[in-house]
């Protein structure tokens, strides 16, 4: 009887746990705390945080329970991540929720979205400098785009063994936008620059909004066909919304579909952070390089905004450059709040959203370009 009891005990999580599981469970709790108490990106941090808890419950290997064990339920759910299915579905919903009118009203702001992608390429060099393999370096670099689904998509294609750390890093930095971006914005701009008011954008017609996704998908995907799974779905979702004739589909895409994909994406990514797989020197390197990538992306956008002002008659507020990363709408909100601190009547939110939208397109193109380098 004691033997049976001892055998049972030896198969419990309490018996099998080691310090790595404890650390990761602690990290999961932090995610849940940030998501629920601080409301930092709760839609992402809550499923990821809970996934980290579930993924780090120790179990007896070989029972077909864990996410890395073939034929386990979690393994099947994880299939959507490793094949890039969930990111594409998320992009469909994202497109159905995005209003490109502010971008169409001021197309020059798209350049800030392009400039913010420089963080990706600086980080690519940085990752290679620290000895990562080229495909790993490209996957780490895409964190600079500050786009979780894009990071997961590219990593699934180039370095699937790094999905966990890269996804966690990407979503962590997206959640930490209010902590990371404001100091960089303030450091790189003068008060005078932060006070620059942006003119209201012109009114955009419905026809323009309908034509935009068609033109954009053709232009972007002819340039980088490897970005099709992301941009194709993004602009499909946007066309569903703007066409106005398939409201049922648009509503489903922007609610049930994206919500379902987000739950499974976040949860399985969280589950993939099993302590023994996740806590490696590489993961720490990825976290460090991810923060560098995000910071450089923010700085690139702000600096490019300042450079544009050298040539433009009508100056733009360089804070908007920080919204060129594709963390929608976090970075636009942060730009808006930073502007409001200097002048409570200066509203930059809609202009920031324009940069954000171009950042989404830019980072997806970057993912396509990086992938194509290794085909």
């Amino acid at each position: 009887m004691f033997d049976l009891f001892y055998q049972f005990l030896s198969n419990t999580g309490y018996f099998l746990a080691d310090y790595r599981h404890v650390i990761m469970i602690f990290v999961g709790c932090i995610f849940l705390y940030l998501g629920t108490a601080k409301k930092y990106e709760p839609l992402l941090l809550v499923p990821i945080g809970f996934g980290i808890l579930v993924g780090n419950v120790p179990f007896f290997k070989g029972f077909g329970i864990g996410i890395y064990e073939p034929n386990s339920v979690l393994h099947y759910l994880y299939f959507g991540v490793t094949t890039g299915v969930y990111p594409s579905i998320v992009f469909l919903g994202l497109g159905a929720m995005t209003d490109f009118s502010s971008l169409l009203a001021q197309p020059k702001l798209m350049l800030l979205g392009a400039a913010a992608q420089m963080g990706i390429y600086f980080t690519l060099l940085g990752a290679l400098f620290f000895g990562f393999l080229p495909k790993e370096a490209a996957s780490i670099a895409i964190i600079g785009g500050a786009d979780g689904p894009t990071s997961i998509f590219l990593t699934a294609k180039l370095a699937p063994h790094l999905i966990g750390p890269i996804a966690i890093a990407a979503y962590s930095y997206m959640a930490l936008i209010p902590v990371i971006q404001p100091p960089i914005m303030r450091l790189l701009t003068t008060r005078q620059e932060r006070l620059i008011r942006m003119p209201p954008g012109r009114e955009v017609s419905r026809k323009e909004l309908i034509i935009f996704p068609v033109v954009a998908v053709l232009l972007c995907c002819f340039l980088a066909p490897t970005a099709l799974p992301l941009l194709g779905m993004l602009f499909l979702g946007n066309f569903l919304k703007e066409s106005g004739v398939v409201n049922r589909l648009a509503n489903t895409a922007q609610s049930a579909i994206i919500d379902t994909a987000t739950i499974f994406l976040g949860f399985t990514v969280g589950c993939s952070t099993q302590g023994d797989v996740f806590l490696t020197p590489k993961a720490l390197g990825i976290f460090f390089l991810g923060s560098v990538a995000f910071s450089i992306a923010t700085a690139s956008g702000v600096i490019f905004g300042k450079i544009m002002n050298l040539f433009l008659k009508e100056k733009i507020n360089p804070l908007l450059g920080a919204a060129g990363v594709s963390a929608v709408p976090g970075s636009a909100r942060e730009v808006h709040l930073t502007g409001l601190k200097e002048d409570p009547t200066n509203f930059l939110l809609m202009h920031g959203m324009a940069c954000n939208s171009s950042g989404v397109i830019g980072s997806a193109i970057c993912a396509g370009i990086l992938w194509s380098f290794f085909i």
Binding site: K108, Y121, L125, L128, E208, F212
Partner: protein
Amino acid sequence: MFGFENITANNGWAMAVVGASIVFLGLVVLSFVISQVHKILDLWEQRDEFLNRYKKQAQIEEPKPIKAPVSRQHHLPTVKELASIYRPLVEQLKQPFNLIQLFEISNKMDLAHPHLSIKYLQEAGVLVPQGDGTFTWDKQKAN
């Protein structure tokens, strides 16, 4: 391998420069195109007005068409009148005669529309073809 050596060995510099250039180029082109969309749409929506204006302008500039002279129905005399006019001419000719001879005489006499007149006479059976290119005068039909 670490450091710049690793970057160079893995073509990192080229990937960074080319990648950054492509994404920049792509978004610059896209921003240019979307900045022109509303102008193209405006043109498209005003196409009727534009076409009407163009048509009006074209009408003003277009030279008035030269009207072809309305062919008047020549007021030819009746067959009987023609026969009375042409009988004296035919009498000057030997039977049978060529129409050319009749035409030459009518020209000399300065008769109006000799071609049409001879044609009517022929159609009315006053001038009777002999089958060898010569004609005779039918006195009965001429009366």
